[in-house]
C-alpha cells in the first residue's frame, strides 16, 4: 500500500493514466466513429449554399436588396466570398455576444422537441452528427441552457424581416420576451432609417443560415426580383 501513496504512482497512474483512458473513451473513440464525415470550411458551406440555392442563399440576397447601401459598403456583391465573410462575422458575434448562453443549437429525439423545433414536412428534424461537422461548430454551439428557443432550425421558423425587427427590439415581435435588444448591430443609413451594420448583416446571415440545409427550397423561398 505504501507505493500507492507515493508521488510518482499517484501522478503516473491517477494523473496521467486515468486521464488518458477517459480521453480515449470520451474523445478518441467518438472521433474514430465520426472520422468519415468530411470536415467543411466556411468557404465550403458558402459554396454549398449557392450550389443548392438554399434558403440562406436567398436570405442573403434579400439582405442585399433591403439594405443596398450598407451591403455594398461592407460586403460588396452577393457571391460566395461575401457570404462566407458574413457567416464568419455573424458566427464571431453570436459567440462573443453570448447568444449561446440562452439559445441551444441541438434538437434531441425526445420530449417532443422534433415537433416544437423541427421543420414541418421535412422528415429528418433531429440533430445529426454531419450537420455539425464544420468550422462554425468548432467549438460546438449546442449550449447547455434554454431561456429562449432552440435555433438550429431557425431558417424554417422565422423570415429575415422578423429577425431584423426582433434583433433590434425583441419585444416588438415577441411580447413578454425577456431577450435584450441589440441596437449596436444597427446604424442609420443616409435617409435616417435604422438598418443593420456590418456585424448586423453578418449576424442575420448566420441566424438565417442555421438549419437552411434542411429547408427544402420552395417557390416561397425563391427570391422574387
Amino acid at each position: 500500500m505504501g507505493k500507492m501513496e507515493r508521488f510518482p504512482f499517484v501522478v503516473l497512474v491517477a494523473g496521467l493514466g486515468f486521464f488518458l483512458f477517459a480521453d480515449f473513451v470520451s474523445w478518441a473513440l467518438p472521433m474514430f466513429v465520426l472520422k468519415d464525415i468530411p470536415m467543411k470550411k466556411v468557404e465550403d458551406l458558402a459554396a454549398e449554399a449557392k450550389a443548392k440555392n438554399t434558403s440562406a442563399w436567398a436570405d442573403f440576397q434579400r439582405l442585399a436588396m433591403y439594405y443596398p447601401e450598407q451591403f455594398k459598403k461592407y460586403y460588396g456583391e452577393v457571391n460566395e466570398k461575401s457570404f462566407a465573410k458574413a457567416l464568419k462575422i455573424g458566427h464571431h458575434w453570436y459567440v462573443a455576444e453570448g447568444c449561446w448562453n440562452c439559445h441551444s443549437q441541438m434538437i434531441r429525439p425526445v420530449s417532443n422537441e422534433t415537433l416544437r423545433f423541427g421543420i414541418p414536412g421535412v422528415s429528418n428534424t433531429v440533430s445529426y452528427p454531419s450537420e455539425y461537422q464544420n468550422e462554425l461548430q468548432a467549438p460546438v454551439l449546442w449550449g447547455t441552457k434554454r431561456i429562449g428557443p432552440d435555433l438550429i432550425r431557425e431558417a424554417a421558423v422565422h423570415n429575415v424581416d422578423w429577425q431584423v425587427a426582433h434583433l433590434y427590439n425583441p419585444q416588438t415581435t415577441s411580447p413578454g420576451s425577456n431577450m435584450p435588444g441589440y441596437p449596436w448591430y444597427f446604424e442609420k443609413d443616409k435617409n435616417g432609417n435604422i438598418v443593420p451594420n456590418e456585424r448586423g448583416i453578418g449576424l442575420l446571415t448566420y441566424i438565417m443560415w442555421l438549419g437552411s440545409w434542411e429547408v427544402k427550397p420552395t417557390k416561397e423561398w425563391a427570391l422574387k426580383q
Binding site: 501522478v11 491517477a14 486521464f19 470520451s26 465520426l34 455576444e97 434531441r108 429525439p109 455539425y132 468548432a138
Partner: protein, 468 residues
Amino acid sequence: MATTATATEVQVTNLVNYTLVKLHVGMGLFFFIIVALMGFLYSLQLDGIYPFPGIEFLSPGRVRMIHTAGAAYGFLVNMFTGLLYWAVPRFTGYKVFDEKYLGMFMFIGLQAAVLITVVAILFLGQADNVEWGETPWWIDPVIVAWLLLHAVQFGTPILKASQRAPLYVSGWYIAAMLVWTPLVVFMGNFIPRFWSAGSGAGAVQSTFIHDLVGLYVTPVAWGLMYYFVPVIMKKPMWSHGLSLLGFWGLAFFYPMNGVHHFLWSPIPMFAQYSAVFATVAIEFAVTSVLINFMMTLRGSAEVLKYNVPLRYMYTGAIFYWITCFQCAFHVTLTFQKVIHFTDWVTGHAHLIMFGTFGMWVLGMAEYVWPRLFGKETMYSKGMSEGAYWLLTIGVIAMFVDLTAAGLVEGFDWIGLNPWIDSVNFAKPFWYFRSVAGIMMITGLLMYAMNFYKTATAGKGLEAQLRNA
C-alpha cells in the same frame, strides 16, 4: 515548554509565505463578490428589469460569461492557490518551490490573465463558446503555462515529502490535480477548436466542463478538506481505507463523466452510456468520502456550534453529497428528457459551486485569516455568524427555487405550449432567485467586511500576550 512552542511557531512561519496567502485569498474574495454581482446583474435580465439596456459592453450575454469564467479563474483559482500556499508547506514540511520570484510572478500573472479576459469579453467581443472556458483562445496558452508553473511550485514540496514517507491523503489529491489541470485546460480549449469539430468537439467540450470541476476544483478542495478538518478538530480521519477508496474512485471515474452534459446529443451513444455509468459509480466513491468525514465528526459535533469555519466545511460537505446524489438520478437518460436545458441544471451548478466549494473556501479562509494577521479570532463573531446564515439560507433558497423552476420549464416544453408560456411560468422563480442572490451577496459583503476589520482593527495576539 514556552521555548518549544516558540521554536515550532518560528519554523511554521518560515514555511508559509503569509504575504502570498493574503494576496491570493484577498483577491479571491474580491473576485467572488464581483462574480456574484455579475450573476445578480444577469438574473435581472431574466426578470425583465435589466438596469443597463442598450449598452454594448454591459450586454447580459457578456456579463454572464464574466460570471462563469470569473468564478473559475478569478475566484476559485485565486482562493485555492492562496489556501495551497498555507496548507501544502504545512502538511509536507517543505517550502514551495520559490515564493519570492515565482510566487509573486504567478500572483501578478493570474490577475493579469483574469483582467485581460474581462476586458476582452466585455469590450473587445473576444470570447470562446466553451462553457467555463469563455476566456478567448489566445489567453488560454497563458493559463496553461501558468498551471505548469503552479505544478512546479506546489509539486516540489509534495515530491520531497513523498521521498521521505508515504504521502498524506491531501498530497494524493493535490499531486494528481497538479497534473490534471494543465491537461484539462489544454484539452478543453484547443482540441475542440483546432483538432475536431461538431460532435467530436462536443464530446471534448463536455469533458472539459466536467473535468475542470472534477479534476481541478474537486481534488484541490478535498485535498484541503483532508488537511483542515483534522487540524481544526485535532484528531485524525476516521478511516484511512475509506480515504484510499474515495481518492481512487474519484481518480478513475471522474474523468469519464463529462459526456453526461450532452445526453441525447449526436455524440455516439457508447460515450454517453459510459458517462452515465461513470457518474452513477462516482456516487459510491463520494458516499465513502462523506462517511469518512461524518464518522470523523462523531463525538465532536458540538464543535460545529461555536467553530464557524468547521461549520462552513461540514455544511458544504452535506451540500456536496446532495449534489452528487441528485446527479446520480438526473444523469439518467430518463431524467434528462425533462430537465436538460432547464433551470434545474443552474440550481445544481450553484449548489456545487457556491454551496460546496464556495462554502469550503470561505470556511478555510476564515480559519486562516486571523492567523495570518496574528489575531486570536475574527473581528466580529456576529458578522461571522450572520454571513454564514445568509449564505447558507440564500444558497438553499436558490437551489430549491431553481430546481422547481426546472421542472416547470421541462414539463411545459414537453407539453408544447407556446414558448413564451415557459418564460412567464419561470418568471416568479426568477424573481425569487434574484432575492436569494441578494441574500448571498449581502452575506458575502458581511464576510468581506469582517475580513477587512480583522486585518486592520482589533488587538493582535502578540500584544495581548505581552500585556498578560
